[in-house]
Symmetry: C2
Subunit: 902 residues, 2 copies
């Protein structure tokens, strides 16, 4: 019989930390913490398989679930000596979601379940704290009414209905609707309970269920149901979490941080999640429930204060911190509650962190012998390293700027843009290409799309565990939170601080590394790492971020087996890429040399040539340009190999298409304009196979004569038939031999081909008879394999993503099942014919983390990507879908040297 329910409590757990796919991340860690003796309130986990069953069977449960749940509940009740709905010892439980990967705030949670009209009285009596009992009951009614019974804000309503009831009562009894919650009396709360029940009945036509068992099943259904809510689906698509993983449900005995001044609740990180420094970092609230901390409604105390306020609990917490890091070998993000001076741990998970923190923690933990160097490399999330390379505020410019406030440094980096006060405005403006900074009093999951669209996030309320801080850390956003000196007025759309007032659209700048806010625009400077590698700054070399970066990259270089090259067409690009570790050129597009300045005129002359002699004359003009470029490139490479692709684009791309430009060119070349327009017309659909391509090889010779070693790899594009390649290679070899004879020298070169159309992959064994290397041109290979033009796909790919037809944009990340399958076929067939064939990739996918990993698994020799990807970069993917404009920031950037070692 399949096991659907796993019990944990009293040092025993049916599950373990390794069972995340089945129990979810939260559940698995609750089981693990129970096993290692930490104080976890007892409970049980309903598995993710039940969630899958739920959606596969029209939202019903497997028949065995009810009995298994009853048995687990009985064990919990026995363990704590309380029972759901019991007249003497009533049990209250929480019901929480918990997916394999954490999706904070995306799904629903119910606390204080088990409360009803009888139980509230018993708890009031038992705890001698009527206010606590009625507060718990009204919180439960509020959550249950919202989440399970669907009492929510309707179109046209300004406020949540339960909040309106509270404000109305505050107004009635205290004359102001923002009277503090904590000052409400037990009688006030009892009245609220009455009014909440009436509200539920009025809105739903049903009364609130008094039976705790009925409550429990309702809550479980709501949590499973929330797996498919809008927010959660957007989030999963954003982070590439498959919809079919499902969530687990954790039912756990409640403990209370809101039982008075001897109780508290808080969150903590075992190290600083923003900087990575090894300090215990967190915050708490006395007499509160967990939701109060996370929502940022009250600004909490820093964790250090707990030592004074609750010394025993603080001591226990420090022990828990040590145990957790030692056991989980990673920085932990934990939730705790102190109930009447007893410490309970409600959750632990690997803490989200900024890129800076990720690197620092990994490097430090190697020093502390907690993890190996390989583990350190493997642990850095794929896109974290970009944070270290993001621009920082220029010190000079920032010192001149008007500082208007400061807050917590929740997301390092520098952001400057137009200030906006709503997610909608952020999305709308960024859709038009504006840079915006989103300023909110506090953020909630509804703000997610706006946060994605913004360059940076500023909040005036909330601590380091607030929603804003958490999301910023996860997305690598620049963020300053809890800038309490700043007043934000949503109505007027203004922000005022330090005597200054900014209205919507004014420039604002935030420094997420220092936690500072500036009025106006502040210019940025390159990160320290770029200052060292590109500008050779000795000063920046001493910075922590450079020190740690270079350690980590050194380890990455030690472990990786995949080579990293760059796609580069100019000496400047090569210099940058080599500084960042490129080991050669994977794609040098000869045609890129001909688009600039005078060169294009000579190129056009060559194309328009009517006779061999005219063509030779035009070619002679081009030769010095190309020779000069190659001298520069090979100089910069200093012996590293370079793959040189022969002319690829259709010739008509070099010619002007409108009449005015054609006339101008005709004047320049002294020919009739008709001659030019006729040639443009003739070439329109012509796929060029210029016979003289092979001769370019000769250009590399002068470089070698200067004493620089050159290793050219000549690459023929667009091959689909073995003989296409054979004929081209014959020309290359003939020209190479002629030059070698003429100059009485020898030089080594390879000849190979791009694999960019499916047929080439399918006959790779035959092509490998002549090709000494293959380079995957995954841009074109994706277009042909998917039968999808990249330029047109914008009109339906967003819909495809929404409908889960695709996991990721196939033009950004290799379509592993389709295109990747062809790459496997190519590798197998190619190596069958030529076991030592060199395999690389020169499509844009060569710089994307998931694709780099895929190439590593395939066993390629190298990846090649643009110089900016060798450095790491952020990239924005914008698309239109129906009426609304999405704006997705995908961190496509990557450091392939690093990824290839993971």
């Amino acid at each position: 019989m399949p096991r659907y329910v796993y019990y944990f409590g009293d040092g025993h757990a049916d599950g373990a930390g390794s069972m995340k796919p089945l129990l979810g991340g939260k559940g698995a860690n609750l089981h693990e913490m129970t096993r290692i003796g930490l104080p976890v309130p007892p409970g049980f986990t309903i598995t993710t398989e039940v969630c899958s069953y739920f959606y596969d069977h029209k939202r019903t449960y497997p028949s065995q679930l009810e009995a298994q749940l009853a048995a687990a509940l009985a064990r919990v009740q026995e363990s704590v000596g309380k029972k759901l709905g019991d007249k003497e010892q009533p049990l209250l439980v929480s019901v929480r979601s918990g997916a394999r990967d954490s999706m904070p705030g995306m799904m629903d949670t119910i606390l204080n379940l088990g409360m009803n009209d009888e139980v509230v009285e018993i708890i009031a009596k038992k705890t001698k704290n009527a206010r606590f009992a009625w507060d718990s009951y009204r919180r439960f009614l509020q959550m249950y009414g919202d989440v399970v019974m669907g009492v929510q804000k309707r179109p046209g309503e300004d406020h949540e209905p339960f909040e309106s009831v509270i404000e109305h009562l505050k107004d009635q009894r205290y004359g102001k609707h923002d009277f503090p919650d904590v000052k409400l009396t037990a009688a006030d709360l009892k009245e609220l309970v009455k009014r909440f029940k009436a509200l539920i009945e009025e809105r739903t036509g049903k009364s609130f269920p008094q039976d705790p068992k009925q409550q429990l099943w309702g809550a479980i259904g709501a949590v499973f149901g929330s797996w498919m809510n809008d927010r959660a689906m957007v989030y999963r698509r954003r982070y590439g979490i498959p919809h079919d993983w499902g969530t687990a449900v954790n039912v756990q005995t409640m403990v209370f941080g809101n039982m008075g001044e001897t109780s508290a609740t808080g969150v903590a990180f075992t190290r600083d999640p923003a900087s990575g420094e090894k300090v215990f970092y967190g915050e708490y609230l006395i007499n509160a429930q967990g939701e109060d901390v996370v929502a940022g409604v009250r600004t909490p105390h820093p964790i250090a204060d707990l030592a004074k306020q609750m010394p025993a609990a603080h001591r226990d917490l420090m022990k828990v911190r040590a145990t957790l890091e030692e056991h989980f070998k990673d920085m932990q993000d934990l939730e705790f509650t102190v109930e009447d001076n007893h410490l309970y741990i409600l959750q632990t998970r690997n803490g989200k962190r900024t890129g800076h923190a990720a690197v620092r923690i990994a490097v430090d933990m190697v020093g502390e012998k907690l993890i190996s160097k390989k583990e350190a490399v493997r642990r850095i999330p794929a896109d974290s390293l970009a944070h270290l390379l993001a621009p920082i505020f220029d010190r000079q410019s920032a010192s001149n700027a008007k500082k208007i406030g400061s807050g917590l440094a929740a997301g390092p980096g520098a952001a400057s843009g137009h200030v906006v006060f709503s997610a909608e405005e952020a999305v709308a403006r960024s859709g038009k290409g504006e840079k915006v900074v989103l300023a909110r009093i506090e953020t909630s999951p509804e703000d997610l799309r706006g946060m994605i669209a913004a360059e940076g996030i500023l909040t005036s309320r909330g601590g380091v565990s607030s929603h804003a801080a958490l999301v910023a850390r996860q997305m690598g956003k620049v963020c300053v939170c809890g800038a309490t000196g700043i007043q934000i007025d949503y109505q007027k759309r203004t922000l005022s601080a330090n005597g200054m007032s900014l209205k919507q659209g004014d420039y604002i700048s935030i420094d997420g590394t220092a936690g500072e806010v500036f009025a106006g625009e502040v210019t940025t400077a390159p990160s320290e790492i770029i200052q060292v590698l590109v500008d050779r700054s000795l000063n920046a070399k001493k910075s922590i971020s450079y020190q740690e970066y270079s350690k980590l990259m050194k380890w990455a270089d030690d472990f990786r087996t995949l080579g990293v090259r760059t796609n580069a067409d100019t000496p400047e690009q090569v210099i940058t890429a080599v500084a960042f570790g490129a080991e050669g050129i994977g794609l040098c597009r000869t045609e890129h040399m001909f688009f600039e300045g005078d060169r294009i005129d000579a190129m056009r002359e060559m194309i328009l040539a009517g006779t061999k002699e005219e063509r030779a004359r035009a070619l002679a003009k081009l030769l010095p340009y190309q020779r000069e470029d190659f001298v520069g490139i090979f100089n910069a490479l200093d012996g590293l190999p370079a793959t040189i692709r022969f002319l690829d684009p259709p010739l008509h791309e070099f010619l002007p298409h409108d009449h005015a430009q054609q006339s101008e060119l005709a004047n320049k070349l002294g020919v009739a304009v008709e001659q030019i327009s006729r040639r443009v017309h003739e070439l329109h659909e012509f796929n060029p196979m210029l016979g003289h391509r092979g001769c370019r090889l000769g250009i590399v010779y002068p470089v070698q004569r200067k004493g620089i070693k050159v290793h050219p790899e000549i690459m023929i594009p667009l091959v689909g038939f073995p003989r296409e390649l054979k004929l081209q290679i014959d020309i290359v070899r003939r020209v190479a031999e002629a030059i070698a004879r003429e100059r009485e020298t020898k030089f080594n070169y390879l000849v190979g081909t791009m694999i960019e159309i499916p047929r080439a992959a399918l006959v790779a064994d035959q092509i490998a008879r002549d090709a000494e290397f293959f380079s995957f041109g995954t841009n074109d290979l994706t277009q042909t394999t998917l039968g999808m033009s990249r330029d047109d796909s914008g009109s339906f790919l967003p819909t495809y993503a929404e409908l889960d037809i695709i996991d990721a944009n196939p033009f950004a990340s290799i379509d592993q099942k389709g295109v990747g399958r062809l790459m496997e076929i190519t590798r197998d067939l190619g190596r069958k014919t030529r076991p030592d064939i060199k395999l690389g990739i020169c499509g844009e996918h060569g710089g994307e983390p998931a694709s780099v990993k895929f190439c590593h698994r395939l066993g390629l020799n190298y990846v090649s990507c643009s110089p900016s990807e060798i450095r790491g970069r952020g990239q924005v993917w914008r698309y239109r879908s129906g009426a609304s404009t999405h704006h997705r920031r995908d961190l496509l950037f990557s450091l392939p040297r690093f990824h290839s070692a993971e």
Copy 2:
């Protein structure tokens, strides 16, 4: 040690008939005939492997060849008691090419090798026939000088140099340059020998080699060299013969048909190669060598005359005929020579024949119990059946036409067009789209391109074994040859006969079935088979061609495993296709129903609809049209299945693109023209996924209600991701269920997808979870797999064919190594998931013979092709390449019912 030389003679042969790849067709049959005791002059065969070696090693030979050749030559010399260059018994040999498949006239041949200044005298003495000896010598000098030493017509010269020498001598000695060859005396011929040797020396600077061994090696090199001559390469491309097969070389003792009145030479077919009738059919010349017969210079005697002229030889020949048919079990084309009343057989091969003959011979041989029914089906060449379906002369029209001559019926069928007198003119005019009939006194291999370009061929000289007749039979051309009453004047470009004169460009008509020639245009009528199947003519049903056709097709239906469907969008198309044996519709393109008349307006209204209601209203207008079409189609199908594809083309294809048409449409629909042009613009790059597609399924219901069984197979196009299909199928099932509920009935249907992009092939296992059938859309699959747009490929495919990069046009015949490999992958993956998945093809390749065979080997359930391909049709493929215009007639037509049984 590899064996390069195979001996045959005196009833013993190293080789056999089965060794065609190694010994060539001619060689293998010489060995086989020797084995079965036929009178074959001794000789040896140098293998095709030597040819391959020759081209792989810069035209040199393997080192072992010389010794092996010497040994074989020694055996020949011993067998006949003569020696090359011997002073007593000099041996003369022939050196002939012989490829695996016959390539008549394409490669070089040398006869009388071994002749020199001494040998000629000895032979003159021994044979007491000085004229014969000197004639043999001058023939040898002429061939050797041309073929081995390269003495050929130079640019600007009107005549072959050796012919000029002959004409000059005739002029000098007899006062006219067209004095008959046979009347030249021994002294004349001796003088010619002298002048020929002088000519060779003058033109080449080298003297003619007197050493027979040197002659032999020169001739062998020339024959191997001729494998790569222009003519041969054009021919191989035309008939799809790989260049790497190579030719063998046969060296054989000469026998002489020109030793006087007791000698003769001839060719014969064991049955009539034009009609297939079982009569011994051929012709011969007394006192001549083989080349005289084939060249058509003298018009030969019909074979029946031999019984009177040489009764013994005729008797022997009739025995040989019987032996050959019994042994080879096919109609044979043989060459024989009678040397001084002794019969020798110099060659046999399966005879080329017209389509009519192919069918008749195969059907007759089944009756004679020579071959099985299966063998009969297998033996018909892939494109022969089209000949039976080609139009014939309309009897009425022909009886009114002016008959101007008659000749041999060498290629059945009817051709009418402008008369031209040179190959160049034929190519030029047909390049412009004109139909031409090529009229020549006789044809030679130089005329090949003109013959390909022409509708029909007419010659005034030459018999059934002349070059013209042979080529016509092979290519299925209409041909009348040896129309001796017709005078053709190349200079004046006129043709005169029967008192009429036609000049170049005038209309002429030829009936290749009756052997008749008409002035002017004659209309054609459908073939008898079409008269029966389409026009239900009872008269035509009695015709031999219908009788044999229907027998053969019945056998084909018994053997084939592959189903045959048609691509059809209208009831008319379905009716024709079903009459010709289609077993259902493989592709019904719903959009084709919407392009006509009022329908397109309703379609446009639907596309332009701004609201759901407007769209529904437009759809309601379309529904009756579509319903009517489907009623007609299902009626015609009468229970056969139909694959219905959902809307496929981009919506903008339905809208007018120029302003005038847009205005007109705006008026019709009563909307602003801007609305239309905006929508056209919006849709420009839109790939439509209309949500309402599934609803069309409902349309099939009314048909079923009428009592006709319907088996719709709903096909979703362009699927690349499994979930694309899943989502579409969900809609189809939902709509189908709704209709079934509403009408309280059930109907059976399948849902499947086209496989037309490479990704679909690569993930076919996943797609097969939802798809109940796959249909290969090989048009698009070819474009995507090859990364080649069909519309643009015309600019480089001809060059690709010339350079042997491709074997065939991949848009005509499936690219088996590329696209075919994906089809295999699809089959394997699809059947892994769903063992009984139905597999078909609906691309245009489904009607092309080689592709049909490939589909059969793949194990598809059916092929589907256009109604005209179900009938069989000829198709012309025209293309431009550089300066010259090629014009290729590819018999792409096919009878898939037949091919699928082969």
